[in-house]
Symmetry: C2
Subunit: 109 residues, 2 copies
Amino acid sequence: MGMKITTLSALAEPNRLHIVELLRDGPLTVGEIAERLGLAQPQVSKHLRVLSDCGFVEVHPSANRRIYKLRPQPLMEMSDWLESFRRMWEERFDRLDDYLAQLQKKDKE
Amino acid sequence: MGMKITTLSALAEPNRLHIVELLRDGPLTVGEIAERLGLAQPQVSKHLRVLSDCGFVEVHPSANRRIYKLRPQPLMEMSDWLESFRRMWEERFDRLDDYLAQLQKKDKE
DNA sequence: TCTAAATATACCGCGCTTAGAATATGCCTG
DNA sequence: CAGGCATATTCTAAGCGCGGTATATTTAGA
């Protein structure tokens, strides 16, 4: 599949990143999130909507409230994507010299 | 330290994500990146500037050209950040019931 | 059924980011 | 040192995303 832009841009917003980190310690209601972030409730609802659209959270209605809970899937996809870079930084394999030689070889044509 | 917003927003742009994935297979010059992405050279330079500012790439001048090479640091930081969520999705530990009980207990006050 | 509380949606205005085009800079070669 | 190539920077206009405010919706309780 490859890494999704929606996943990254969801986290690229400070308040949303903060929400995700809050939910790491357990589910929370909209009001609680708003309180802890010092944010107005509508903004929180909108951010949660974005997070929900790309699978970061799921909702559990309970009477008046709506309990939001983190979903592992997008985080796992990020982890898989990062895995594809691991070889690069573990083998301290510096292809720069190879590349330079290859460049200069091409230049002679 | 925590996860940096700059790192995430750098990757949240489709062309920049594409550049990072291109560089996964080895260093490239600006011109080559522009060609493979079908992008104009100035935009590529600008994207590389952003990636450079948050430590994603380093430059190696070689005569006329500038060779860009991926740096592992930001990717490692992302990996560390994700590590802090691993417990959540490995222990299939669903705190939702606990949380509900706790909520209703608070309501009685 | 009326009210209050919790949450979601709609609308508006602004600031940031991007692409595009023009221009500047740096480096090699004849 | 003049000219050409690779790259960086600047400027501008347009689009998107965010916060703020007002409003709609749902649910519990009197």
